[in-house]
Amino acid sequence: MDILVFLIPVSLSLGALGLLAFLWTLRSGQFSDPEGDAARILLDDDDLAPQPPRPSTKRR
């Protein structure tokens, strides 16, 4: 069972990787327009970047 000492940290860090990826999608505003993003895949000339969340400079 000694192998657990390695395997558990490995599985945890893999999970943490997924969590970090989720945090990134959250911060880059990928949940702000799910319907629009679903439709935009059909557009030829669409830009690749999702829209960043509203610029925070607005809250002056």
């Binding site: 069972m1 657990l4 558990i8 599985s11 945890l12 999970g15 943490a16 997924g18 969590l19 989720f22 945090l23 959250l26 949940f31 702000s32 327009d33 799910p34 319907e35 629009g36 439709a39 935009r40 895949i41 059909l42 557009l43 000339d45 669409d46 829209q51 969340p53 509203r54 925070s56 400079t57 607005k58 809250r59 002056r60």
Partner: protein, 721 residues
């Protein structure tokens, strides 16, 4: 989740900002509502149209919110954008960006999503570790797995469970019990007891249950938040729709000012097509005023110098100058708003199904757990085992499925309704809509389009001549005549010397003969008081054109659908008895009343409520706003006055009224699903609670019962059609 200090962020970049970036930052943000967009083609078309307008820095359409955000040069007017969109075939309305500020970046929603992500991560890992325990890990290995689970679960529960802890603490301080009290109690007790068991080398630790509970409940909380935020932003969007301006005639010339800056005695210019911004007396000019939004009368009223005009009346024909007699708070418009406020105060707070379920559920759960604990202490004398049983009962009964049951259905239903063009402005409007047993309608502008249609047969020559005269006027009757002639394929007869006499009609010369189109007095015809105008060519006897209100598409279908469900229908209108009776007969409405004042409408609605009826009120005008606010649930067409849209619980974005019948069907279906979900959750409890009470519950059973009930409930919600 809070962003860095905005002031510091700005200060750090300000001095080194290059010129180009400065130009972009000086650009102002315009927000447009695009109610009709629905597909990828619409996105591309709208964005292309917006980018094509000179001065636009960037344009981005958000299909979920049906909104476009445009960064544009400071001088660019929103009209240029809406015109460009109209050319591309998209209806657009400007929204006040200042009113919407803060609604876009949804801090609470993002914080909840973050908590969901973290607890989801923790749940998956702890569950995996638990699987090894369930499948028979023993002694030191089990303890090790428990310790790792604890290391993951405890910080996560402390972080992700905060929304529940705060809410429960707030409720307890106010000496109330809400749904979050049993939730918090079971999460905290499960964590503490598991920690103690792990420390003592016990067999059962409920870390997986604590984390899974947090995760599922956060899901429900997020869905609930989304539905509420959508309703809130719809309400905010409606107040942002109109930023009213007025043209004041000062000694220095004309100036455009906000309505709030007008004072009594100011001279205000009201061009044809504008609404009177204040109560006043006509100082100069002659015109026809459309009062349909205020009183429900369809026939415009002629007004000359000295005539009294109320705020909100629409000027139809001639430019006029008003001398303000009442402004701001004192105008009749505002007094109407006070009627609404009074009606809203009168309506009690609605208890949703989930609230009602929680009211007897929370104390019941606590009593059950407590009695289980006391029983086992008395029966077995083992404190530790008794505590284990109590915690198991709390975990099993934790209203996980209950917390998901209502929000999941509400989210699915609101999405369906939005696609059908029904905007929910209040979170519980859907539940209230399902209970409706009587529907009350306004006539002008609601069941009818508020636009008259030629109702009498006319000789083609007369119609062509009338259309020629009508061509120069914006009066609704003139437009109806022009439309009728076009529909009949008649070319308008050319008229020379065409002149509009506001308040009277049109005159000109046709083939050398004097021609007049207008009121009975203007054309020398006998006045019959009906909705009609007259055409007089030379000395020939005047020809009568009668008008009727055109029904809104779907009005008949809606009334028929309501009747089919056994819902009573009622028509309350400020219009004359004849027109109201005609509409009642045409649509087969049960009961109609004419010449009803705004206060009387409110009274009728209150009387219905007092009689225990659940009334749906549908209206579009200011005169309906009090009744809309007093009704059990209310809807306003999108074409209605903003006061009506603000007072109503739902706004119909499409012209077709039958969407409301569909909404009612969805609401009833949603109510059924919510009740089914409560039943499902109760069924799981009925099976699992006896096991827990008997002391046979293991973490495996708890995890199974919890996950299965949550998943069943969510799937059932998605069945909503």
């Amino acid at each position: 989740m809070t962003a860095a200090c905005p002031a510091c962020g700005g200060a750090a970049f300000a001095p080194v900002r290059p010129a180009a970036a400065r130009a972009a930052s000086e650009a102002r943000t315009l927000i447009l509502s695009l109610p009709d967009i629905h597909c990828a083609g619409c996105i591309a078309g709208a964005e292309r149209a917006l980018s094509g307008v000179p001065g636009v820095v960037s344009a981005r359409v958000n299909l979920t919110l049906k909104r476009a955000t445009v960064r544009a040069a400071p001088g660019l007017a929103a009209e240029a954008l809406t015109e460009a969109l109209a050319r591309a075939g998209h209806r657009a309305l400007e929204l006040d960006a200042a009113t919407l500020a803060g609604s876009g970046d949804d801090e609470t929603g993002r914080a909840l999503l973050l908590a969901i992500g973290v607890s989801g991560f923790a749940m998956m890992n702890v569950m995996l570790l638990s699987v090894s325990v369930w499948s028979g890990a023993e002694a030191a290995t089990r303890d090790f797995l428990h310790w790792v689970s604890a290391a993951i679960a405890l910080p996560v529960v402390a972080f992700a469970g905060r929304p529940f802890f705060y809410s429960a603490w707030g409720a307890l301080r106010a000496r109330r019990l809400n749904m979050d009290v049993p939730i918090s109690l079971s999460i905290i007790l499960a964590s503490c007891m598991s920690l103690f068991e792990t420390w003592a080398g016990g067999r059962h630790a409920y870390f997986d249950a604590a984390v899974a509970l947090t995760f599922f409940l956060l899901l429900g909380r997020y869905l609930d938040h989304r539905a509420r935020a959508a309703a809130r932003s719809a309400a905010r969007e409606l107040t942002a729709l109109e930023s009213p301006k007025a043209i004041r005639l000062a000694s220095s010339g004309r100036e455009t000012v906000a309505i709030s800056e007008l004072r009594v005695g100011d001279l205000v210019h009201v061009a044809p097509g504008m609404r009177a911004p204040v109560d006043g007396v006509l100082a100069e000019g002659v015109t026809d005023m459309d009062r349909s939004h205020l009183t429900g009368e369809t026939v415009p009223v002629a007004a000359g110098p000295g005539a009294v005009v109320s705020a909100g009346e629409m000027n139809l024909t001639g430019p006029v100058t008003l001398r303000a007699t009442a402004v701001g708070e004192d105008t009749s418009l505002r007094r109407m708003a006070e009627l609404v406020a009074a009606a809203e105060r009168g309506r009690g707070v609605y208890q949703t199904l989930a609230d009602r379920a929680a009211r007897f559920y929370s104390p019941g759960v606590h009593l059950l757990a407590l009695s289980a604990f006391l029983f086992w202490v008395w029966h077995a004398g083992d404190m530790r085992f008794a505590l284990n049983v109590a915690v198991a009962v709390l975990i099993i009964t934790c209203p996980c499925a209950l917390g998901l049951a209502a929000p999941a259905v509400a989210t699915a239903a609101a999405g369906r309704l939005f696609r059908r063009g029904v905007l929910l402005k209040s979170g519980d409007a859907l539940e209230r809509l399902a209970e409706v047993d009587v529907a009350v309608f306004d006539k002008t502008g609601t069941l009818t389009t508020g636009r008259p249609r030629l109702a009498t047969e006319a000789a083609p020559e007369a119609l062509a001549a009338a259309a020629g005269l009508a061509a120069g006027s914006a009066h609704p009757y003139a437009r109806a005549l022009a439309e009728a002639a076009e529909a009949a394929g008649l070319a308008p007869v050319p008229v020379s010397g065409l002149l509009e006499r506001p308040g009277a009609g049109m005159e000109g010369e046709i083939a050398g003969e004097a021609a007049r189109l207008g009121s009975a007095a203007f054309t020398g015809a006998p006045d019959d008081g009906g909705a009609a105008i007259w055409l007089r060519l030379g000395e020939a006897p005047p020809v009568r054109f009668g008008f009727a209100d055109e029904f809104r598409p779907g009005a008949a279908a809606l009334v028929a659908a309501l009747k089919a469900r056994g819902i009573g229908t009622m028509l309350l209108s400020g219009d004359g008895a004849e027109a109201v009776e005609a509409a009642r007969a045409a649509l087969a409405i049960d009961h109609a009343e004419a010449r009803v004042s705004p206060a009387e409408k409110l009274e009728r609605l209150n009387a219905l409520a007092a009689a225990g009826r659940k009334a749906l009120m549908v209206g579009d005008g200011l005169n309906d706003s009090g009744a809309l606010a007093a009704a059990h649930v209310s809807a306003a067409p999108g074409s209605g006055l903003d006061a009506a849209r603000v007072a109503a619980d739902m706004v119909l974005l499409n012209a077709d009224l039958s969407a409301l019948a569909g909404a009612m069907e969805t609401a009833r279906c949603a109510r059924r699903r919510i009740l089914e979900n409560f039943g499902l959750a109760a069924a799981y409890n009925l099976v699992a609670v006896p096991i827990a009470l008997a002391g046979f519950c293991t973490p495996l059973i708890a995890a199974l019962a919890m996950s299965l009930s949550s998943i069943t409930v969510s799937l059932n919600a998605l069945r909503l059609r």
